[in-house]
């Protein structure tokens, strides 16, 4: 009995409350976005929102089960879960169900489909934590780094085969986990630099970009000519940058798919095609922008109600928030997410076991990356990449996998006084 009380006392209720709030906001906005007069009830399972309601109930049950499990069980089975998802990812490439160009679903019958890539995020985080928390493992060492990269890389590669670029990119966010565990900050800086260089070389003549990099590099080298090591680093960096710029045009034209190119062009403002390729983003921006400060009121959004915005219950669910609840609602939702992510970092840092800490960072990074890409896409900051908004977008696999992801951390956290 005392065990039980201690158990509930240790659960981080703040996170759970934010989770419940986001799920509720999601359900209400899905109801508004795809409201169907023939199935007016929120609980009508013929409609999208009715099904989402079932998903939420299932997610709650799963969350409860996770809280009742032994922590050791989760840690021990991490490799098993990982192997299972990898197998599923392979399976989906063979017998998968193709929706919208992505072979990402396995049909379970009864209208329910499983999306293994959603669960891969969880199992990858778990195995990564398990590996990095092991003895004699340091990310700074090449061997450890290689194995960590392999753990992240295998599901990435399989998901890219579907090809689901959005879900693939999510794994990139795990670089924050590696950074926290000691990865050189140069990785972050170079990653950031490469993004900037990619954009500038598309926007401007690559030759000029290279000239400017060379000039800036020489200037810095001249200024710090006494510090030999630094000079080498900068020289190497500049060389990499120039090589990258040199290859940008090639990557852009040969590696990327035409529709991806167009999406990038639209975000960068090179192309404007509000009726064709840019229709989604344009209508999404109109929906959010027309919400003004207080929004048009619940169920009164014209953009979503009259289906100008596509994918309004899944990838573009934030349009409904922006249009019907306005800037105030948007800030509230984004604020909840930021609060949750910062809270998760706090939780991760208060863990005694490295496993829990690493896993906590994984959860925070994955959730944050989803929020950033999904909302950024809806407001035209990021090219269109179809990934859901955690807890809010419609979809059973997504909701369930995020719930598992989150509640495993909550479970680990509730046990933080014990030894895992």
């Amino acid at each position: 009995m005392s065990n039980q009380r201690r158990f509930f006392f240790n659960v981080d209720w703040v996170t759970v409350f934010i989770y419940l709030a986001l799920c509720t906001i999601g359900l209400l906005n899905i109801y508004s976005a795809v409201y169907d007069e023939r199935h007016a009830s929120l609980l009508d399972t013929h409609a999208t929102y009715g099904r989402q309601f079932i998903f939420i109930i299932v997610a709650f049950v799963v969350a409860g089960i996770i809280l009742l499990l032994e922590s050791r069980f989760i840690t021990a089975l991490a490799p098993v879960f990982y192997v299972m998802t990898v197998l599923l990812l392979l399976l989906v490439l063979v017998i998968g169900h193709n929706i919208g160009g992505n072979q990402a679903w396995i049909n379970l019958g009864g209208g329910f489909k499983l999306q293994p890539s959603e669960f891969a995020k969880f199992t990858t985080c778990l195995l990564l934590a398990r590996y990095l928390s092991g003895p004699n493992v340091r990310v700074t060492e090449l061997r450890s780094f290689g194995i960590a990269a392999l753990i992240i890389g295998v599901p990435m590669f399989l998901i890219l085969r579907q090809p689901d670029v959005g879900s693939t990119l999510v794994f990139v966010s795990l670089i924050f986990v590696l950074y926290r565990e000691g990865l050189s900050p140069y990785f972050l800086i170079i990653g950031f630099l490469l993004i900037v260089l990619f954009i500038t070389s598309i926007l401007y003549n690559p030759v000029w970009v290279m000239v400017i990099i060379a000039a800036a590099g020489s200037l810095i080298i001249w200024m710090f000519r006494r510090k030999k090591r630094f000079v080498y680093t900068i020289a190497a960096g500049a060389a990499i940058c120039i090589a990258f710029v040199f290859s940008v045009k090639f990557i852009y034209n040969k590696v990327l798919q035409p529709h991806q190119k167009v999406r990038i062009d639209i975000v960068l403002g090179i192309k404007s095609d509000p009726k064709g390729k840019g229709y989604n983003v344009n209508q999404s921006k109109i929906a959010i922008g027309s919400g003004k400060l207080w929004g048009k009121g619940y169920m009164h959004g014209t953009q979503t109600k009259y289906s100008f915005v596509p994918e309004q219950s899944t990838d573009f669910i934030f349009c409904t928030v922006g249009e019907e609840w306005g800037f105030a609602g948007s800030v509230t939702v984004i604020g909840l997410f930021l609060f949750m992510v910062l809270r998760l970092i706090m939780i991760a840092e208060r863990q005694r076991s490295p496993f829990s800490r690493i896993y906590g960072y994984g959860v925070a990074s994955v959730i944050f990356f989803h929020v950033m890409i999904n909302i950024g896409m809806a407001i035209g900051l990021v090219p269109v990449i179809g990934i859901p908004l955690p807890f809010i977008s419609y979809g059973g696999s997504s909701l369930l996998s995020f719930t598992i992801l989150l509640f495993v951390l909550i479970k680990l956290d509730s046990n933080r006084m014990g030894i895992v």
């Binding site: 924050f176 950074y179 953009q303 009259y306 930021l338 970092i345 960072y361 950033m372 909302i375």
Partner: protein, 648 residues
């Protein structure tokens, strides 16, 4: 806890920075940038304009002159069209395959999702046969449209016509008109446009992304209903208008009849005329082109635009001015030897009248008598003061409405002409002209020009013994029959009523036993005056002015038949028929044996060859005049520009 503990702050910092960027972007598109709200409303909101029915125009007795007739446009929405039997459909509409393809391409070019007219302006009869079967062809539907319809095909020049607005109309209207709207172009349709057109209504509808109508915008809060145009009651009498047009067929000229006690125009005939129905519907363009090419120019509104020398019909007015000035009395006599000596020029009179007094001179149309009167007026201050006395005389004449617009409620009125002293100064040099120089004015010739409307108005003034009401064509506006205030005011011409009797005596005698005896109406006392307007290079114009009955006059009339010689022969009989028809409702057999049928069937159209030559010459002169005017304007502009420079 390990050595990289502080890196949590770096990671949290990166997360917070990115969130701030997102929030800033949201703030910009949601709060700062207003465009998105406009786009969103444009996405869903469509304004559908509700066209009001144009007001009808009635005659004075409530009979319809113009009404609206429903026509049907067959509309098409290409997206909704399903495969169908094109042959059958073409047969139904009465078009061939080529025509179908052309229309179809045009519709697709316009829009796949929006409706555009496939076939325009089907008549009600044509539509009746299509109506039932149209539902077999999804994507096609009909829209009723209202076009003008003239049941009696009369009074074309009075009613005018409507047509699609031009760009300048749209600009001038401050956004009232849109492309494709109709506007009055001539006649009443033009001058009463604002009353007739009514008020357009607007409905705001919500549409979804598939262009399906979803409901009223803001529950119809911003919707307005169309208000139909008000009806106009014209002063015309349909019966005599029709009768007049019949009498004037195959003749060039006009009839204007006015009710003296109100100034309401009863009859407004411009001949040759046209069927106003020709200016409506699908053949409108072709018909209009044909009429523009017609050498008799049916679009020329003769009652107000044609100018004739009034001829002898001017004499009563001349006499009245002299009486008022005290130059003569009704008893003043003149011994007419068959001519009149003005200075050293000899002016022929119609015949030897012997000794005539005022009434006799009017009755016999004695040129000599009125030349004498005119010279006495001009020379009353001595022969060298003609300029001063002429200016006074001119002022008196103009009080009757000559030489000025009468402000009819239809635009395009001509002023006529009463020459100014300056005109003669320019023509003869200052001080070099005398009463004898301008003596032809005495008998309504010379530079004097009047429109038929002005002539009829003079008769009104005589019938009223000294005043007239502004002539007008629209008697009352709307269902409440509003009468404009200016039409209730009397315009006095500055002649005491006592002076009218002797003149009217003379005018009665004209019809009773004078020049107009042929046109005497049994049982009705008509007072009139024949006139023969000189037409340089053609047969003279036949003019007759009259009012009737003498006591409590009900109608004043002016008739001009061009190229038909003396007033007594053509204009007077026509006038008498109209007068009798108006007063009695029928035309009784005349002692002289004239019948309306004879006049209806007579053809007095002038020789076309001659007419065309004349017009060519006129065009030539016009172009010279235009060139001169343009060059003068240029010089003026240059001068004013120079002055401006100097000022600076």
């Amino acid at each position: 806890m390990n050595s990289f503990f502080e890196r949590r702050y770096v990671i949290a910092g990166i997360f917070i920075t990115i969130i701030i960027i997102i929030l800033a972007r949201l703030f910009f598109i949601q709060i700062v940038d207003n465009r998105y709200a406009v786009y969103a409303s444009n996405n869903v909101r469509r304004q559908i304009i509700q066209y009001p029915a144009r007001g009808p125009i009635l005659d004075r007795n409530g009979k319809i002159l113009v009404q609206n007739e429903a026509f049907y446009d067959i509309m098409v929405v290409p997206k909704d069209v399903k495969p169908f039997d094109t042959v059958e459909f073409c047969k139904l509409l009465g078009i061939d395959r080529d025509g179908f393809d052309k229309r179809w391409e045009k519709a697709i070019k316009y829009s796949r999702y929006l409706a555009s007219p496939f076939e325009k302006q089907l008549t009600a009869q044509a539509y009746a046969s299509i109506q039932e079967r149209l539902s077999e062809f999804p994507g096609f539907y009909s829209v009723p449209r209202y076009l003008r319809n003239y049941p009696d095909s009369v009074a074309a020049q009075f009613l005018g016509y409507i047509g699609e607005v031009q760009d300048r109309d749209i600009k001038r209207s401050n956004g009232y008109y849109h492309q494709g709207d109709f506007i009055g172009i001539t006649g009443v349709e033009k001058s009463y446009e604002k009353i007739l057109r009514g008020q357009r209504g607007v409905q705001n509808w919500l549409y979804d992304s598939h262009n399906k109508r979803q409901g009223h915008y803001a529950n119809g809060m911003y919707d307005t209903a169309a208000v139909a145009g008000q009806r106009l009651t014209s002063s015309l009498d349909l019966t005599i208008q029709k009768f007049g047009e019949k009498l004037m067929q195959n003749k060039v000229g006009s009839i204007v009849a006015i009710e003296p006690s109100t100034g309401e125009i009863l009859c407004y005939v411009s001949s040759p005329t046209y069927d106003p129905n020709l200016m409506v519907g699908r053949e409108r363009g072709n018909n209009a082109a044909k009429m523009w090419a017609d050498p008799y120019n049916p679009f020329f509104v003769r009652p107000i635009q044609a100018r004739y020398p009034p001829g002898s019909s001017f004499k009563p007015l001349s006499a009245l001015i002299a009486l008022q000035e005290g130059i003569i009395t009704p008893q003043t006599t003149y011994n007419c030897p068959g001519y009149y000596m003005a200075g050293n020029q000899r002016i022929k009179c119609t015949h030897v009248h012997g000794v005539v007094n005022l009434s006799g001179a009017v009755a016999g149309s004695c040129n000599g008598y009125f030349d004498m009167v005119f010279q006495r007026i001009m020379d009353r201050l001595g022969p060298r003061k003609a300029e001063q006395t002429f200016a006074e005389w001119r002022k008196n004449v103009m009080k009757f409405g000559l030489g000025n617009k009468l402000d009819l409620d239809i635009s395009g009125e001509s002023r006529g002409n009463v020459p100014t002293p300056l005109y003669y100064d320019n023509k003869y040099q200052k001080g070099a002209w005398r009463s004898s120089t301008i003596i032809s004015l005495a008998i309504g010739q010379g530079e004097l020009l009047a429109t038929p409307l002005q002539l009829a108005n003079i008769e009104c003034t005589i019938a009223n013994h000294g005043f007239f009401y502004k002539p007008h064509l629209i008697k009352a506006i709307g269902a409440k029959n509003v009468i404009e205030k200016e039409y209730l005011e009397r315009n006095y011409v500055g002649i005491d009523s006592q002076y009218f009797e002797p003149v009217i005596d003379g005018m009665q005698a004209v019809v009773d036993h004078g020049t107009g005896i042929q046109s005497k109406i049994p049982g009705i006392v008509m007072c009139g005056k024949t006139g023969t307007a000189q037409n340089p290079g053609g047969e003279n114009h036949s003019v007759f002015v009259a009012f009737a009955p003498r006591e409590h006059p009900k109608i004043a009339i002016a008739v001009v038949v061009e190229n038909s010689g003396e007033g007594a022969h053509w204009a007077a009989p026509i006038a008498s028929f109209i007068v009798e028809k108006y007063l009695r409702g029928y035309v009784s057999p005349r002692a002289s044996g004239i019948t309306p049928e004879h006049f209806e069937n007579a053809n007095r159209l002038p020789d076309l060859e001659y007419e065309l030559k004349l017009r060519a010459r006129r065009l030539h002169y016009d172009s010279i005049r235009k060139a001169r005017r343009d060059s003068l304007a240029k010089i003026k502009a240059l001068k004013s520009a120079e002055e401006k420079k100097k000022e600076e």
